[in-house]
């Protein structure tokens, strides 16, 4: 069990580092996909079956594909990548490192929460998550559909070309 955990953890961290360090944006996207897959593995280890599946479908299946589409659309590759000065990189690394150290320092004496003795291990199964969603958290669930609607409209509006641009067409009224 623990070996699996360390394996998945190693993969996550390495791929995350690669996301940050890669020059070609497409390489970054690929690395991020690998990272997501490893995190899905973590979910399975934690018996969060529903989440694992949803994670793969939504994140790797939809969001990452979207990223790839946009990169292809904008025709980005290594040569269009803006240059960074050394000082900024070092500053960022140090800041990140310090942040990590601070956080780790916070838990060095343990989390301080006691384990409850017995619980129902069926948390994480599709059935229990579904029940919870449709009873306790019904309102957020329904409202999130409105959120999606606004996101879609926003994306469409933002994506339209202005009148002055080529292939702009007319500017229609606010939707």
């Amino acid at each position: 069990m623990q070996i699996l955990f360390y394996l998945f953890a190693a993969v996550s961290i390495l791929s995350a580092l690669f996301v940050v360090a890669a020059k070609n944006p497409v390489n970054s996207v690929i690395a991020l996909i690998v990272c997501f897959l490893s995190i899905a593995g973590h979910y399975i280890l934690l018996n969060a079956q529903f989440l694992a599946v949803v994670h793969i479908i939504v994140y790797t299946g939809a969001i990452m594909v979207l990223f790839l589409f946009v990169i292809m659309l904008l025709n980005l590759n290594k040569s269009t990548e803006p240059q960074k000065s050394m000082a900024t990189r070092i500053a960022a690394v140090i800041a990140g490192g310090l942040f990590l150290l601070t956080l780790l320092g916070a838990i060095k004496d343990g989390i301080g929460i006691a384990n409850p003795d017995v619980y129902d291990g069926s948390v994480g199964l599709v059935k229990s998550v579904g029940t919870s969603l449709f009873t306790e958290y019904l309102l957020p669930f329904e409202v999130s559909s409105v959120l999606f609607l606004s996101a879609m409209i926003g994306a469409v509006m933002l994506g339209k070309k202005d009148k002055g641009q080529p292939d702009g067409g007319e500017i229609s009224g606010v939707a």
Binding site: A91, A92, A95, L98, F99, T102, L103, G105, A106
Partner: protein, 633 residues
Amino acid sequence: MDFQQLAHIAWLVPALPLFGALVIAALRNKLKGNTAGYLATAMTSIAFVIALLAFIAHKPAEQASALVHLFNWIDIPGMEVAMDLRIDALSLTMMLIVTGIGSLIHMYSISYMHDDKRVNTFFALLNLFSFAMLMLVMGGNFLVTFIGWEGVGLCSYLLIGFWYTVPAYNYAARKAFVMNRIGDLGFLIALVMIATQFGTLDYGTVMDKSSTVSTGSPWITAVTLLLFVGAIGKSAQLPLFTWLPDAMAGPTPVSALIHAATMVTAGIFLLVRSSALFALAPITMEVVLIVGLLTAVLTATIGVFQNDIKKVLAYSTVSQLGLMFVALGLGAYSAAMFHVTTHAFFKALLFLGAGSVIHALGGEQDIRKMGGLKGITKTTYVTFLIGTLAIAGIPGFSGFFSKDAILMAAYQEHPLLYAATLGVSLLTCFYMFRLLFLTFFGTYRGKAHAHESPSVMTVPLMVLAVGSVVAGVLNLPHIFGGHETMKHYLETAAEGIYGEHLHLSAATEWMLMGITVGLIVLVIWYAHGRFVKKTTLDAEADELPYFKRLIARKWYIDELYAKLFEKPYGWLSTQLDAIMEKRVVDGAVNFTGSSTMRIGKLVRRVQTGNMSFYLLAMVVGIIGFLMLTIWGV
């Protein structure tokens, strides 16, 4: 009404002119014609009536003085100064002079200032001046007097510079104010010293407690000298006298009221009020005597060579004030006050007469361009003649008695002093008759069309002329059968402080009088011959031989002051402006502004607009915050 009741309404006396001043000032753009003048005159006249009633009701044997408490002013433990009015013989005398002669001059001004555009302001200022002067003389403690003191200085400045469009007049007004101020400083320091020593400024208490101070101590000498400095400034003595001739820039009624009858006598009033203190300081008395004598002699000599009708009268005023200070220096307080009273009458008369002459000639003030007016302006001539006879000291007129009192006191001290004061009197006689002869006798040397003044102007002249003659009876000496009423009356104001005793034998008095009168007659005869028969006009000042030029140029005192004081002060002012004003003050303010901008420019660099930088800054902030909360660093 008895005296106590009248004392209770005595606050009306200064309040009425103040009310008049405020009303006229508020309505100065709306009042038309002579309304302001009538109102102002009415206020002063009613005040005179009240003062007169109080004077008649005053019986010194029963109640020597009344203290009218208006309100508590400064109320700190250890220093309680109230707004008090003190009604006693001395203040009643001055009140009558101020309101009486003041009303006459107000009446005269109605016609004199008739054509002026700012006539309403003029009357407001005249009334304000009356208020301040009355506060001065009616004050129950040094501080109330000081309020009036400052007030008359201010009104003097405003009235001298009344025609402010002429720069020279402004300069004269400023000069008067600054010299007054120098005197005020002395007064103020003396006030503080008195308050510190006695714990109070009330006249009665200070006079009572003055016995605790030893005679001739440095403290009392210093206090009295400082009070005298104040008097020097206000009454135009050496060295602060040059403002008074320049003050003739103001309208003639102003010269009559302020610079002849009332304000300039404030210095003498102060010394008489504080006589208890002065009696303890023999050194100061000597100083007063010397200063008064020098002033009298110096200005009398200058007056001989003046060609402006008002300037002659101005120097004559300073000279007479000098004589009054001589009297004070000799301890003859009542003689000084007597001369104040008679001088008020005839000097106001002379000034108003001069104003009438100027008005008749359409603005001409140079006596070399006058002459032969006695046929044209008859009333003015007669009254002016009476005034001149009074000031010269012709027997029978009031000036004779008052000047004689001073001369007697001088002789008692030292015969040489008598000779000096006699010399001053003879010079006075000479230049006054020169003025009279050149103005009214002979043929007319001017070009304007002369006419007599209206009755509104001549009536006050006649009243004052009567006063000039009659006022002598106020203090008739014993040898004429009088009872020296004024002297005894004034003594009640200070409970026997005025310890002057004239112990000359009757024979000596008659002899001295005879010498005086004889010499005066000789002088008049000489002046007549010189100015009427031959009509010698003095040449311009620069064409005279050396010694006469020195005197005609006023002994170059103005030039001396300019070199000693005005130029260094101007230089200092310019330097301070360049250094302090431009570099220090402006520099500090500009530095504040520019440094704020520079700091702003520096700090602005944080707002780079770069996302990454913002993120970095945010993260650093979060780290700091976390460290604080988690570890309490």
